[in-house]
Symmetry: D3
């Protein structure tokens, strides 16, 4: 199984965290291709940044998906997920959706632990868009500045653990989701230290990607996840234009 | 009042339709700046195309919003709306959200009339994202190919009217929303010919934009619609980079 | 544009507040007719009082709507709104519905700030009836007695502002709705002092009424907002009986 | 147990239907007082008519509740129910709410059979207001004119039965609710002829009223169903003014 | 009216509490048959224990329902309710469902007071399964160990009352539901001491059972509450096998 | 990875279908232990039969889980799932929940194809209990008798395929779930023949079980999925009593 894993942020340090956890999670035969967004921001906390990340992911996925069995959008919030699910011939997974799938198999209500206050409302909307708001116990987030996005886990180890514990004790969380690529691997580190199951997006996405490849459920050729119909387009990056087909108009 | 109206599609013919209806709808003192996406597709029907349109809108809005009192994203589905609402200092409106606001003031349940079968699932998700799925009576759509996106209203006049009538008679629609910029102006043409109120996105957006400018409710400086926090970024179009602030890293 | 603005309460002091804010909000060509309920209570906090206010509004609207382009029911909670929307030939707007429409164009989740503890449950039900409970961040209310209903804004200035700030900081409000006719004008006073957009019902209703008149979406002649079917009636106030048509039976 | 049963419509023929079914349903020791609205319409199909009926019920209940153990608002749609539950010292029940309570004890999803097309949207909103829209399988209604409101059951016997059967076969109804006072007694007549349990509002309300009297759960003295706080009022019918207390201002 | 009341737990002391309250609640002509589960746990707090209790109830109900007019499953959480409603020819009621029906007739939002922290999540799921989560104000529970399940009311009298008061004051409860058979009778004891109506499951179930018997709505013979279709079975307790019919295979 | 797969029905032919598909789906190193319920019915279509199946599964799982890494309840509808998730020290998966998790990773709205009309309402409730009713496009089912439960796929091949196609064309299904153990393997057979992705429960459960074992998220030791607290019990099957711990009372 060959997985294309795309970090929609420009942070190589986060890509390294993602890669490390993806490698630990992957089955023996699974190969990973890692890509980092060539443009965008250091980490996505807002809808506007997600919009940019979605376009960066789309370009990378369009250019590099050939030869891979599935694509993982490696940012919580899943920028570009719905669109790429339409356009690519292989399964596409996001960190949020994957973590939610894991969580739903482990308990009824889950809490999401995030790295910034700002990011919470957007995460909530993503859970709503997944139709799972009724199972969201809470979102809790760090409330202090992040010195380095690649080092959040260490710098805020105690704070993150406290958030998890309060989600269980006060919010009724039956599962904890550690959200965001910068927390990749933390679920593994916390194993056995929390009173409820804990999952993260990267490991979940890798396992579910492998599963979808094995299940081979087929690509939608009808309905809203079929490839977009060919139509005139203009000025698009080459890879995207090739993916879309259709008549390329002069700029 | 100066409104910046951005067509996220590349179709000048649709921009003309939008402009014509916007001018008919605007109050005496309102001035319109019309922009058409320099890259993208002829018209957006899918999540993937919306992702592209969102980025095109973001670039245009970032580059041209100065001097305007509000920005209108002139495609149904509102590509880029949430993000731009964060990033711009002025109100930002989309056609869907605006038409929904009008419809909610006229009845309890509404139907959306669309120009293609494919577009329906995406529209449904947008209504869900607006939290209004409980008031959606139905979405009905043309099921025949469109010869010309700029001429849908004329070519399919009877079909569109039949869809409206069936939404009222069979689905319980108390208000009709004519969806999509290519239908701009049709609500006006159908005035008095349908058994329930009918609204469209362009005229609704123009009126609500004028209202928001008059109400002057203020820009969010806290919470999830505050401007994105400044942070390192790389490779962004100049206008977007300026809007975001933060440290521009070398590519 | 001629607007009929009806205060469903008997308080002339509140009618004055409504009028002042309505005049400040209205466009140049808009004329206002103000009416105060001839019977009822000083201000509506309960379902029972709303029932009375609805009947008072119905009588006034039936008697005075001719010659107006739209009718505004100027109490939060919108007593009588659904019924009058059926019965009158022109658009009818309520303060809650109008404020919700404004808020939905400014953010995803909103909080409502109210003047009494008692009123909160009823407001919540009105938001539910509008299908928007999923976007309600919270309702917060003053918890001290009101010395004078016409002077709440001044008397409780600091308390109201504190409620707004807590709704943003603790409840995730992205927009603030100042609820209740006694707070008419407060949104304008607080401009620039709150960290998120703030709207009120009176100014929203005036602007949306003007918009609906301009959009001219048409009156429902079919479905549940068509005029009630003519049928035998008895003992109704003359204006209501004329509006309903049908055979008037002897008392 | 003494029950005050108020028909919010002016139709004595419907009051007779209600009374007959209420007497058949009542336990041995239960006494009924029947009242018919002195003003209003022949039967309520719309929100506007419900607004009138609510005020009529309020007046009658205020004037006549003393000496009764519970009050039944004998129209489907429950006009005035929430308000009177606040204002009266005894339990108040409506036909819709009572039928829903019965239905929920008999199956998961129910259908409502109504006597006119027009009435359906309003009934749907009442089910929504009861928080039970997720259990509503369908609303089906007669689509032919009613020659006489007191004779609907006989005139449309076959049509009503067909609606019931289709609700079961096509909509998945596990319980049938026969809606509207004009159908009082029909559930009893259809006993054993339908493939699922069938309930109506009048018999349900009588039984549940007796139960609430026996359970004696107490009157709310706090929260939103406590009596409305005393405050200045003006121009109210004497009985309502007495019920509200507060200072009566001169007209 | 003959009611079969089954305690799904093995605690005779709780059966006595149930019986005492059921007798106090029953009408003059009502006869009660009390049964205690021959296997299971002392009291049900978890889904796993409910699964066991459901099977115990099924056996007892299958063996003993003949000659009764209705069956009451006398544990909050209603183990086995849906299944027995299909299989038995008479109405079947649970404590939760019955208390919810009572509460819905008394106010819009209710709180549930429970005897253990652990039990809360399960109760919440039962309210969700009843489709009433939108009306749940809160669940509050004792947080101290129970010395004796038959003596909770006395041992924790003050704690339970405090929970009720906080539910009203802090959560907006308009009705209180005292949950769990061990609290049977407490609602009666607290009469007049709480600021909102208070109901419990046992008394509610007895009254609603009497009502359903009187209403005689009929047994479902079609749809999902019809008796299970006869089919091969094996190894079932005799009473269950007889109830199911079908071909009994050799073990 | 060692998986314990339990068929809650007594049909060996269905166990064989489950086993065949489980073996085809399992990764190289995965070992399967297959068990068939020693008591119960031929196949579960109703809540009552599910109640029986849940108890049978509980006994088998209690007796045989030791030495396995995860347990699969191999009937759609997931009888006993919540309870066993509490009681067992390893992950427990059901077919419905697993198929839903797969479907949610492939599209937004899904349809369920079932083998009998009767089973639909129950499946709907299970989707509701999973909090995913908002994503359910439809449930469609065969409407003809099943000659042999082990041979449904062949006997009704064309009928099943037609149901799938109609779900896509008429209901907007973006993913198809083939429901019920008797359809195990059909998704594999239909690969490439349907216009949207298709999944089934058995293969999904096997893959997700392997994933959960790999992710090792930990067992809940707090909250509602912790093991049930030890308490007095009586008359339980030995394996269940051992699992529960607590004081065993004499029968």
């Amino acid at each position: 199984v060959k997985l294309l894993v795309i970090n929609p942020n420009i942070s190589d340090s986060v890509t390294s965290l993602i890669q490390a956890e993806a490698e630990r999670s992957a089955s023996a035969g699974t190969q990973l291709t890692m890509l980092t967004a060539p443009f965008g921001v250091a980490y996505i906390e807002t809808r506007f940044e997600a919009l940019i990340g979605a376009f960066a992911v789309a370009q990378l996925a369009a250019a590099h998906h050939v030869g891979h069995d599935a694509v993982i959008i490696a940012a919580f919030g899943d920028p570009g997920l719905g669109g790429l699910r339409e356009a690519l011939p292989v399964p596409v997974l996001g960190l949020t959706e994957s973590a939610l799938a894991s969580a739903c198999l482990l308990g009824h209500r889950f809490s999401i632990i995030a790295i910034s206050q700002r990011i919470q409302a957007w995460y909530r909307e993503v859970v709503e868009a997944n139709g799972l708001i009724g199972r969201l116990a809470s979102i809790r987030a760090l409330d202090r500045p992040l010195a380095s996005i690649g080092n959040v886990q260490d710098e805020h180890a105690q704070g993150l653990r406290t958030l998890c514990e309060r989600a269980v004790a006060e919010d009724g969380a039956e599962v904890i989701i550690l959200a965001g690529a910068p927390l990749a691997g933390l679920a593994r580190s916390l194993r056995g230290q929390l009173p409820v199951p804990v999952v993260d997006g990267v490991s979940s996405a890798v396992k579910h990607a492998e599963s979808l490849v094995a299940l081979a459920p087929g690509k939608a050729m009808h309905g809203s996840f079929a490839p977009p119909p060919a139509k005139p387009n203009r000025g698009l990056p080459d890879a995207i234009a090739r993916l879309l087909g259709g008549n390329r108009l002069k700029a």
